[in-house]
């Protein structure tokens, strides 16, 4: 049983890392702009496809393909914010409708461009195996965990110690006061979308080679990330991190005692319980009106 728990801890941490990347992007957008971007899953998927494109057609190098994919997603983020979300800024419902519309447009666009069949991308990190006793993991498992820990650290440092990061936090906390001290909110919103999309792209670029790259590959991570930010506390970055890792580990370990097809049930049951008992989440701030 100890072997099984260890195996599932590694698998859960790896998947949790992916949820963290997604959740951080969503929580940044929600925290700064108060928009729930449901299209985050398809941006994650686009990251997978772009990495495949750059890897096989341009660079031949996986790390370089990831960097190009992240940069492209960052650019896509700026465009999406400027063209779609900025004009709809004061209309939350329309923003949600627009993000749902984006899912259909991007998913079907990808099917038109790449076809409906899943793509494979066997990088050396996926082919290399790491033996731990009788267990064996792909190197990519550990690459994902290491890259996500680095990305989260870099984001923390950026938000805490740079002027732009401080400006982002200021805009998130009090947009009017931020304007008074000379912060241009449009720049901050564009920057927020850029970082969030880049994180989604990184997630797709990391997970795609391990599994498959296909049009729906972002659907489940998006739902889990959404659960992570609700459980962690809407708008809370530590909450997104704890929520993401927590969901990954809990869903993996739960399959040792309950049937695997009930794995999602556990996650969403926790989500509903949290909404009922502590709607402001683990790290969120209780606001007047919430019970």
């Amino acid at each position: 049983m100890a072997t099984a728990i260890f195996e599932q801890l590694i698998n859960g941490t790896m998947m949790g890392s992916i949820y963290v990347l997604m959740a951080l992007g969503m929580v940044l957008i929600y925290g700064v702009m108060h928009v729930l971007n449901f299209a985050h899953g398809v941006l994650f998927m686009t990251g997978g496809y772009l990495t495949h494109l750059f890897f096989f057609n341009l660079t031949g190098s996986y790390p370089l393909a990831i960097v190009l994919s992240i940069l492209t997603l960052a650019l896509i983020g700026v465009v999406l914010e400027g063209v779609i979300f900025r004009p709809l800024r004061d209309n939350l419902r329309m923003q949600i409708v627009a993000s749902v519309g984006l899912i259909l447009i991007i998913q079907n666009g990808v099917i038109q461009l790449w076809g409906p069949r899943a793509l494979q991308m066997r990088t050396s990190s996926v082919s290399s195996l790491v033996k731990v006793g009788q267990l064996s993991f792909t190197m990519q498992h550990f690459v994902i965990i290491a890259v996500v820990v680095s990305a989260v650290t870099a984001l923390y440092l950026f938000l805490t110690f740079t002027r732009l990061g401080t400006a982002m936090r200021a805009t998130s906390q009090h947009p009017e006061a931020a304007i008074v001290v000379g912060i241009n909110p449009n720049r901050i919103y564009a920057l927020t979308f850029m970082i969030a999309c880049a994180l989604a792209g990184l997630g797709g670029a990391l997970l795609g080679p391990l599994f498959l790259i296909f049009p729906q590959m972002g659907d489940a991570p998006m739902l889990k990330a959404l659960s992570a930010i609700v459980i962690g506390g809407m708008g809370s970055i530590p909450g997104a991190i704890v929520g993401g890792f927590g969901i990954g580990v809990v869903e993996s370990l739960s399959t040792l005692v309950i049937p695997s097809d009930y794995r999602d049930t556990i996650v969403f049951a926790i989500l509903i319980l949290m909404l009922l008992l502590r709607p402001w989440g683990l790290f969120g701030v209780r606001v007047r009106g919430e019970h």
Binding site: E7, P116, S136, F211, F214, T255, S260, R263
Partner: protein, 383 residues
């Protein structure tokens, strides 16, 4: 004046002849062209399109008239609501007299009652849930073998092999659960089973199943799923260091499947097959060549089954003596009997055909051999 009259008469005659030659019968198609099962839907459409292209070269004669076929295709996304809506639209708006296709067993459950209510036959070509043709619906026909027929052949193999304890990973739907139950029902009561796990369409992480398979001490794992999850499951199981015997479905016995993995991953794996594309059987060879010429890839069981369904409908129309009228075509379908690509095509009183089922095994060099039925067995390269 006489010349003018003659010219007009000739022109009228020619026009009438042309109009007759171009009479078109529209057949409805319901399938998934987008969504998680779009890849499987493509094989289905390839089979339909190849059959229509071949039939339309000369057309087909019914009651002295020559007809061509056209397809009206709706994408059901493998969704029950979309399937029911597409079926209703084909019947009431497009007014087709017969509908073919569908990939997903649950969607058939939504479409079949409409077929019965509106008296428009539905001929399914891929779904394998056993219960579909057990509903006393005289307007539902299935050309492919169902899970019970497929698994019977596989269970015969399992019983002859050293496969205990046997574990399962299966789709969490009618096809997957029906498949698991079908195998269990055919195994002796004292047969040792290992872990049984289900996954939802679109899931790609099999790590929890792998841990449970390892814990259960299974010697063999049956994978009741399609190509893409199948390739993922096999790769993840082997990468996790599990040395189990793989037992797969017809989706896993193709060159396309080999390309998603490698010969080393597949060596020794067995799977049932409704259609071994390289079998040294004339009807299969001919179809495979025509398919490869049109689509530049090895043919697929879904395509072969769908191809035969179009010919079954044409035969039914010939038997009915008319190309319109769902009830007449239904009666025609009940009476068809011909040699298709997948084998003898005729339907029993439940609307179920009984094509042969093969067991193929992957060889170390990436080819396949037929190991069952014995009389059709073929060496590596013939599966």
């Amino acid at each position: 004046m006489r010349k003018l009259v003659l010219s007009a008469a000739l022109a009228t005659a020619l026009f009438t002849q042309t109009a007759h030659a171009q009479e078109v019968v529209t057949v409805g198609i319901v399938t998934a062209q987008t969504g998680p099962l779009a890849a499987a839907g493509k094989f289905q459409m390839n089979g339909f399109n190849l059959a229509v292209e071949q039939i339309n070269k000369t057309g087909f004669d019914v009651a002295g008239k020559n007809y061509k076929l056209a397809l009206k295709v709706y994408d059901t996304h493998c969704s029950t609501s979309e399937g029911a809506s597409a079926m209703q639209r084909l019947i009431s708006v497009d007014q087709v007299s017969v509908v073919l296709g569908e990939l997903c067993s649950p969607v058939v459950s939504a479409e079949a009652p409409l077929a019965q209510d509106e008296k428009v036959p539905l001929v399914i070509t891929v779904p394998t849930a056993v219960n579909l043709t057990e509903q006393n619906n005289p307007y539902l026909f299935r050309i492919n073998a169902h899970n019970g027929q497929l698994t019977k052949a596989l269970v015969d193999y399992i019983l002859s092999a050293d496969a205990q304890p046997l574990a399962f990973i299966a789709w969490n739907n009618d096809a997957g659960r029906g498949g698991v139950n079908g195998v269990k029902a055919l195994l002796p009561k004292d047969y040792k089973l290992g872990y049984v796990g289900y996954f939802n369409v679109g899931e790609v992480d099999f790590s929890s199943h792998i841990t449970n398979i390892r814990n259960s001490g299974a010697k063999s794992v049956m994978l009741l799923m399609d190509e893409e999850p199948g390739a993922l499951a096999i790769r993840q199981i082997r990468d996790a260091g599990l040395k189990v015997q793989f037992i797969g479905t017809l989706a896993m016995g193709s060159d396309r499947f080999l390309k998603t993995l490698s010969a080393a991953y597949l060596d020794g794996m067995v799977q049932y097959s409704a259609f071994p594309p390289n079998a040294p059987i004339e009807r299969i060879k001919n179809f495979n060549e025509a398919y490869r010429a049109k689509f530049n890839e090895e043919s697929h069981g879904f395509a072969a089954q769908s191809y035969d369904a179009v010919f079954a409908v044409v035969e039914a129309m010939k038997k009915a003596g008319k190309v319109k009228g769902g009830a007449a075509i239904r009666d025609g379908l009940s009476a068809v009997s011909f040699d298709g690509v997948i084998g003898k095509i005729s339907f029993d009183n439940k609307g179920q055909a009984s094509p042969p089922v093969y067991i193929t095994e992957w060889c170390h060099d990436g080819t396949r051999k037929v190991i069952f039925p014995k009389e059709m067995s073929a060496a590596c390269g013939g599966g």
